[in-house]
C-alpha cells in the first residue's frame, strides 16, 4: 500500500465571532497551509473540504468557497462532518493512485448558527424532537451522571480534566479559551447547564478554520524532509442515541482497534507518545482514555490523578488544550491532527512535548460522540 504523509498545515487563531467572512477565513488558512508546505496551488490534485450546511446557515455550504479553497478547476468534494472525515477521504483518494497531492480544509463559524441548536436538529424528528427534552448538552449530562454513578467518579475529578486542558490551552497561541489561572473551584462554580455539565466543562463556541496538505510518498519526499506519516486510520459510527450503551464510547473503541491494527500498534500505552483527542465535554476525556485502551473501564480518573496525562506526564493528552480550548465544530478534529503533527515535527513553540515520534489524533461528531475517527501519525526520527 502507498504511504501518505502530512507535508504542511495551518490553522487560524480560533476565537469568538471572528471579524472575517468565511471566504476570507478559508482563503487565508489555505494560503498559509500551501505556504507551509512550500507548494503552489497548481501542484494540488484534489481538494476536500469539510463544513456543515446547518452550521454555516447555507445549503451547499462549500459552493461559494471553492475559489477561496483553491479548488478552481480541481477535483473537489466535501465531507459534511468533522474534518477528520475529510482527511480520511483524501487519504483514500491518494491510496487509490489517482491523485498524489491533496488539500484538506475544514471550518465552522459557530457564531453563525448555534451548534447546540444544530445538534438538536440532528435528533429523530418523529419522537425526540417532538418531546423536545433532549439536546446534546442534556444527553451529555445523562452520560456524565451514568458514568459518575457507575464508577464512583466525582464532579471534582471531572473538573480536573477541564483544568488540565484549559491550563494547556493557555500556552497554545491558537486556542480560544485562555484562562492561565483556572482552578477546580472556578470550574465548579461556572454556569450550570444540565447537572453536572457546567460552562467550563463544555467546549466553547469558536469560529475557526484549519487546513493541511497530504502527499503520496514520492511527492512527500520532494516537498519536505520532515513528513508526518499516516500509519493507521479507523472510523466507526455508533447506534442512534436511544439504542446505545452510554457507559462506554463503543464506536471509538472499534475505530481505535482498527487504527491500531493498521498501524501495527499492540500496546498504545507504551507505543504512543502523545494523544490529541476531541473532548467536547470534560467527562468524555475520561471515557476516551478507556475506549483507546489506555486503562480499564471506569479507571480513567486514575490516569488523571497520577498526572500521567499531564503535558509532562508519561502519556500526555491534549497538550494543545483539546476541544475544551477551542471548538470550531467541523474543524476540531482536523486541528487535533495538526496539533499532533506539530508535536511530532517539533514545531509546537511554547508547549512542545519532548521526544514525540508516534501520536494519536481523534475527531468526533454527533451527540455523545456517535461517530469517531482515529488517526495514528508517525514521524521519521
Amino acid at each position: 500500500m502507498r504511504r501518505v504523509a502530512i507535508v504542511g498545515y495551518a490553522q487560524t487563531q480560533h476565537q469568538f465571532d471572528m471579524d472575517k467572512t468565511r471566504e476570507d477565513m478559508v482563503f487565508e488558512v489555505v494560503k498559509e497551509a500551501l505556504l507551509d508546505a512550500g507548494i503552489s496551488r497548481e501542484e494540488v490534485d484534489t481538494v476536500i473540504t469539510s463544513s456543515s450546511d446547518f452550521l454555516d446557515g447555507r445549503t451547499i455550504s462549500s459552493v461559494f468557497l471553492s475559489m477561496a479553497a483553491g479548488a478552481y478547476l480541481k477535483d473537489e468534494s466535501k465531507a459534511e462532518e468533522d474534518g477528520t472525515s475529510a482527511v480520511w477521504y483524501a487519504f483514500m483518494k491518494i491510496l487509490a493512485g489517482t491523485h498524489d497531492v491533496a488539500l484538506v480544509e475544514a471550518h465552522t463559524q459557530a457564531s453563525t448558527f448555534n451548534p447546540h441548536l444544530v445538534s438538536f436538529y440532528t435528533l429523530d424528528p418523529l419522537f425526540d424532537r417532538q418531546v423536545g427534552l433532549l439536546n446534546d448538552i442534556a444527553a451529555a449530562a445523562i452520560q456524565a451522571r451514568m458514568y459518575m454513578s457507575a464508577y464512583g467518579v466525582s464532579e471534582e475529578e471531572i473538573a480536573r480534566v477541564a483544568v488540565k486542558n484549559l491550563l494547556n490551552a493557555a500556552k497554545n497561541p491558537n486556542a480560544h479559551r485562555k484562562i492561565p489561572d483556572v482552578t477546580v473551584e472556578e470550574v465548579l462554580s461556572s454556569k450550570l447547564y444540565y447537572h453536572p455539565i457546567r460552562e467550563l466543562m463544555m467546549s466553547p463556541l469558536s469560529d475557526g478554520a484549519c487546513a493541511l496538505v497530504l502527499a503520496s510518498e514520492e511527492k512527500a519526499r520532494k516537498i519536505t524532509d520532515n513528513p508526518v506519516w499516516i500509519e493507521g486510520v479507523g472510523c466507526c459510527q455508533d447506534f442512534y442515541l436511544r439504542d446505545r450503551d452510554l457507559l462506554k464510547l463503543g464506536s471509538l473503541e472499534k475505530a481505535a482497534r482498527d487504527a491500531y491494527e493498521m498501524a501495527g500498534v499492540r500496546d498504545p500505552l507504551t507505543e504512543l507518545d502523545l494523544f490529541e483527542v476531541s473532548e467536547k465535554f470534560a467527562h468524555e476525556e475520561l471515557m476516551i482514555y478507556e475506549a483507546l485502551g489506555l486503562c480499564r473501564r471506569g479507571k480513567g480518573k486514575i490516569l488523571l490523578e497520577k498526572g500521567l496525562t499531564e503535558k509532562d506526564g508519561e502519556i500526555p493528552v491534549n497538550p494543545s488544550g483539546g476541544a475544551l480550548g477551542a471548538d470550531p465544530v467541523c474543524a476540531t478534529g482536523l486541528v487535533r491532527i495538526v496539533e499532533a503533527a506539530k508535536q511530532i515535527r517539533g514545531e509546537a513553540d511554547g508547549y512542545q512535548v519532548s521526544g514525540v515520534r508516534k501520536a494519536l489524533a481523534h475527531g468526533q461528531f454527533g451527540i455523545c460522540a456517535q461517530k469517531n475517527w482515529v488517526f495514528i501519525l508517525g514521524g521519521e526520527r
Binding site: 471572528m18 472575517k20 467572512t21 468565511r22 471566504e23 476570507d24 482563503f27 489555505v30 494560503k31 496551488r41 446557515g57 447555507r58 471553492s66 475559489m67 477561496a68 483553491g70 478552481y72 463559524q109 457564531s111 453563525t112 448558527f113 448555534n114 441548536l117 436538529y121 424528528p125 418523529l126 424532537r129 417532538q130
Partner: protein, 168 residues
C-alpha cells in the same frame, strides 16, 4: 392528466420546524465600495493584479490566481447585452416568487412583461444581471448596446441602478 399516477395511502404526519431565522451571516465590505460608487453614478469593479480580469460588482478572490482582487477600476456605464430572456405578461396569481405574488404586492404591473438581461459593461470581464426597461422583447437581440438608467437621486444603494435601456 395524462401522467401515470400511483395511489398511495398516507401515513402519519408530525409537525416540526427549523429556525433559519436564528442565523447571523457574516458579510464582507465589498458592496459598500460598490454602492458608494453608485452614489456618484460610477460602476466600480475589482481588478486581479495576477491575470488582469475585471469583475463587476467587485469580487473578493480570483480563483484562477488564488489571490485577492486588490485593484479597483471604474468601468463604463455603457455595455452590450450578452444574454436575455422575457416572461409572459404578468397576471395576478400566475406564479409566486419566494412566497410573494409580485402582482398582488404591486411590485409588478398587471400585463407587464419583464426582460432580465446579462450586460457586459465596457471594460469589465463579467456579466451583470439587470432589468431591461422600456423595450419590446421582440426588439431585443444579443449584441445590443445599452446604458445604465440611474435613479433620479442616487442614495448609495443597489437600487440606484434602475435598469438598462438601449442606446439610441
Amino acid at each position: 392528466m395524462p401522467y401515470i399516477k400511483e395511489e398511495r395511502p398516507e401515513t402519519l404526519s408530525v409537525e416540526g420546524e427549523w429556525n433559519i431565522g436564528a442565523t447571523t451571516w457574516k458579510a464582507n465590505r465589498l458592496l459598500e465600495e460598490f454602492v458608494k460608487g453608485l452614489k456618484q453614478k460610477k460602476l466600480i469593479g475589482s481588478l486581479c493584479l495576477g491575470c488582469g480580469k475585471v469583475i463587476v460588482p467587485p469580487r473578493n478572490i480570483c480563483g484562477r490566481c488564488h489571490r485577492r482582487m486588490e485593484g479597483r477600476v471604474v468601468v463604463s456605464d455603457k455595455g452590450t447585452i450578452t444574454c436575455f430572456t422575457y416572461t409572459p405578461p404578468a397576471a395576478r396569481g400566475k406564479y409566486k416568487v419566494m412566497g410573494i405574488d409580485p402582482v398582488e404586492m404591486g411590485v409588478v404591473q398587471e400585463g407587464e412583461v419583464l426582460v432580465p438581461v446579462f450586460v457586459r459593461f465596457d471594460g469589465s470581464d463579467s456579466n451583470m444581471s439587470l432589468p431591461l426597461i422600456g423595450v419590446d422583447p421582440k426588439e431585443v437581440y444579443i449584441g445590443m448596446r445599452v446604458r445604465v438608467v440611474w435613479a433620479e437621486e442616487p442614495k448609495g444603494e443597489l437600487s440606484d441602478i434602475v435598469g438598462v435601456e438601449p442606446i439610441k
